[in-house]
């Protein structure tokens, strides 16, 4: 009896939070160290450079998934508090590109950013960064050699587009309409989680009667995949 009661008393959400906190500490060290090794070996030992770059990609995936899982969990339990503020969009996107700079270099991906420096918008920086980082990590894996980020305002909404020249998104979730998270299938693996997360984040952005959305299709300017997030 006693033992059972104790087990009931474990607070899963705080256990999850503290475990994730702990794992993130390790991941931070892992990523920082990998970054240092990559810089040190880039011009001296191509073999190690290549291996560690692959490791870096995988570690980032783990980190992204961890953030997504914890955020989704907190959102579903209404424990996540969205913090919308006014930010410079170009500064924000610059930073997202910088975050993956060494991987772009390793894969010889040409990156371009098209965003007016005076463009400011309202969003939750942590949430949107989770979305963009995750899409970028997918693009690094699937694009051939191009990636472009575009941001502009249309119909009173901020549009952020991520174009690549890969094979495009699989038919199962490529759509020209905005994606409802109910239609996301997890059978397709981690991309399913990413889309689910992205649509949750988009929908957490509201202004007056409008709600954010995402679009996934193969209308990229380079003929590959195009991911768009639209925030009111």
């Amino acid at each position: 009896m006693d033992i059972e009661q104790k087990e009931d008393n474990i607070d899963f959400s705080s256990m999850l939070a503290s475990t994730v906190h702990d794992m993130k500490g390790s991941l931070t060290m892992l990523l920082n160290t990998l970054d240092e090794i990559i810089v040190d070996t880039k011009n001296t030992n191509l073999n190690i450079y290549a291996q560690f770059s692959k490791l870096q990609y995988e570690a980032k995936r783990v980190n992204n998934n961890l953030i997504q899982l914890l955020t989704i969990y907190k959102m579903e339990k209404s424990q996540y508090n969205v913090n919308i503020e006014h930010y410079s969009v170009s500064d924000f996107l610059d930073e997202q590109i910088l975050q993956s700079k060494s991987l772009f270099e390793f894969h010889n991906i040409t990156v371009s950013l098209d965003c007016h420096s005076d463009l400011y918008w309202y969003f939750d920086r942590d949430l949107l960064s989770g979305v963009i980082n995750n899409v970028i990590n997918n693009i690094i894996r699937y694009t051939k050699d191009k990636f472009s980020l575009k941001a502009y305002v249309a119909d009173n909404c901020l549009h952020i587009e991520l174009h690549d020249n890969g094979r495009g998104y699989p038919k199962t979730f490529a759509t020209t309409d905005s994606v409802s998270h109910k239609r996301v299938s997890f059978a397709t693996g981690s991309t399913g989680l990413g889309l689910y997360f992205s649509s949750l984040v988009a929908r957490a952005h509201r202004n007056k009667n409008e709600t954010g959305s995402i679009m996934v299709n193969n209308n990229s300017e380079f003929g590959g995949g195009l991911f768009t997030i639209i925030l009111p």
Binding site: V20, H21, K24, G25, V82, S88, E95, D118, D126, N207
Partner: protein
């Protein structure tokens, strides 16, 4: 502006040495050469007290029962260790909202979430330095409480460059609020709200209605913020204050209980809850809250004797446990290293406890001690502390002693309705309603008479005589806003008339410094500072 970290003095605070090492390398790759690093809050504060840092990167979570990043920021700002140009970045492991929730008065310049690469770090630091540079003069004016200049600078920047518009609107509306220009402040905030319902803007509007004593309207704004964003803690604090003004102490307490459940780390909120619960005779909640605020006070600049006296009072009232109550007071004396302001509160409370358990001799001893401390240091303590001691005097039946302290409070705050109301409440509680009414009325009269005497002399052009009257009055009433402001004004007038004179300038400065301490937001003080500055510049 180029990012040049070479000459920047940088402090890293993180309990994880490997992380410090790796961030140090990142900053060095950006050119930084002058980097110190420490693992805990005590060392961080110690370093800041000895060196003027340009950039501080501080981890939020520094381990259990240790000062956290927010407490370090609060203490550093409070003790004046941060220049207005110092960049303070809070580093966190996860989403930052939990930290934002706890923050009340002081906020860092930015938050950064781990992990980040050296490119991101150096880019962010450079962008923030640039922004800090652009806003430098405005922040300086605000920190000198020269709100008029701050507003003029905000307007100039808003016209020239829309880049930091939200920040500028926020600073400008705060400055207008400090100057009492409520309608102008509301206009700006309404403009912000028309583009987006941002909680800080709505909070600003609610605060203005509160100042205007329009409590119903204020309440609606605070409730709307909470409805849209239940993590916006400041809205709970203001809603609770508003409900108290509306006479609904029960709902006010409930509001703070909800806030504390969401964000238990704010000491000021715990204390406010403890005090409300004490008034509502909810001893369980009061005890719980004061215990938490005492514990948090050990690492916080906001620690206060009130947490201990409040806890002692609950323990005494609810549990009839004088031994524990007295121990709590002894702890306070120890924790505050025999600070006289604290000692007068604890001694007075000791008197109350001894009286309750029938130790008349000890009760008298404690009360005499409190009384002597009040006699010696009374002029320097806040009306809050003085009132606390006076209430204890009433509690033990030392009516005369209590009245004397209250009289001093009224003398120094004769135009502050909120304080006068608290004084009257205390008299009511002590069954001295009419005595209190009479004392407040006659004391007000007394001050108004002296003040009018001076004002009449000014009107007759007898400035030297007027200064004499105000000088004498202000010396007896070091905390009275109006008298000190008039003293400064008469001095300014004589300088304007007869030209600069070292003695008058020196005197005038003294009164302005006093006013700054009493209430830097007092509109008349603002005007005087401005004129005085112009006079001195000539």
């Amino acid at each position: 502006m180029e990012l040049d970290l070479r000459n920047k003095k940088i402090l890293l605070v993180d309990d994880f040495s490997e992380f410090r090492f790796s961030v140090k390398k990142m900053l060095q790759s950006g050119g930084a050469a002058n980097i110190d690093d420490v693992s805990n809050g005590e060392d961080a504060i110690d370093r800041m007290s000895r060196k003027n840092y340009d950039i501080i990167l501080c981890d939020y979570n520094l381990g259990q029962d240790k000062k956290d990043g927010q407490q370090i920021l609060e203490e550093a700002k409070h003790r004046g260790f941060l220049k207005t140009s110092t960049l303070f970045i809070m580093v966190t492991a996860e989403n930052t909202m939990d930290m934002v929730m706890g923050a009340i008065e002081y906020q860092p310049d930015d938050y950064m979430t781990k992990p980040f690469t050296k490119e991101v770090l150096n880019n962010r630091v450079s962008k923030l330095l640039e922004k800090k540079h652009v806003l430098k003069d405005i922040e300086k004016a605000v920190s000198r409480e020269d709100y008029k200049r701050a507003i003029a600078l905000c307007d100039a920047q808003l016209a020239a460059n829309p880049k930091n518009a939200m920040e500028l609107f926020r600073i400008k509306s705060d400055a207008l609020l400090s100057l009492g220009q409520y309608d102008d402040a509301i206009n700006i905030l309404e403009k912000v709200l028309s583009s987006r319902d941002l909680p800080w803007a709505r909070l600003g509007i609610g605060k203005i209605y509160f100042q205007k004593k329009n409590y119903i309207e204020a309440k609606e704004h605070f409730q709307e913020i909470i409805g849209n964003n239940k993590a916006y803690m400041e809205a709970y604090d203001w809603l609770s204050k508003t409900l108290v003004e509306l006479g609904d102490q029960q709902s006010a307490q409930k509001t703070l209980e909800e806030a504390v459940a969401l964000s238990p780390k704010a000491i000021l909120r715990q204390r406010a809850l403890g005090e409300l619960a004490l008034k509502n005779n909810d001893h369980d909640t009061a005890e719980k809250s004061f215990k938490k605020s005492v514990a948090m006070g050990k690492t916080s600049i906001y620690k206060s004797a009130k947490d201990y006296t409040g806890l002692a009072k609950t323990v005494m009232n609810a549990k009839k446990n004088p031994v524990d109550a007295l121990t709590i007071l002894k702890d306070a004396e120890k924790d505050f290293q025999l600070n006289p302001e604290v000692m007068m509160q604890t001694a007075a409370m000791e008197g109350v406890i001894y009286k309750k358990i029938g130790h008349e001799g000890k009760a008298k001893e404690a009360i005499d001690k409190a009384s002597a401390l009040m006699e010696e240091h009374g002029a320097k303590v806040s009306p809050d502390v003085a009132m606390d001691v006076a209430k204890s005097f009433f509690d033990v039946g030392e009516t005369e002693k209590g009245q004397k302290v209250m009289h001093d409070i009224v003398q120094n705050n004769h135009d502050d309705e909120a304080i006068l109301k608290k004084v009257q409440d205390a008299f009511d509680d002590a069954n001295l309603k009419d005595v209190g009414k009479e004392m407040i009325a006659s004391t007000k009269q007394e001050i108004i008479k002296i003040n009018n005497e001076g004002v009449n002399l000014v009107k007759k052009g007898m400035l030297v005589e007027a200064i004499e009257v105000f000088d004498k009055a202000a010396d007896g009433l070091p905390q009275n806003k109006i008298v000190n402001a008039n003293a400064a004004q008469a001095l300014i007038m004589i300088i304007q008339k007869n030209g600069k004179n070292d003695k008058y300038i020196y005197q005038c400065k003294k009164y302005l410094d006093r006013l700054r301490k009493i209430d830097p937001n007092y509109p008349k003080f603002q005007q005087l500072v401005k004129i005085f500055g112009e006079l001195n510049a000539v």
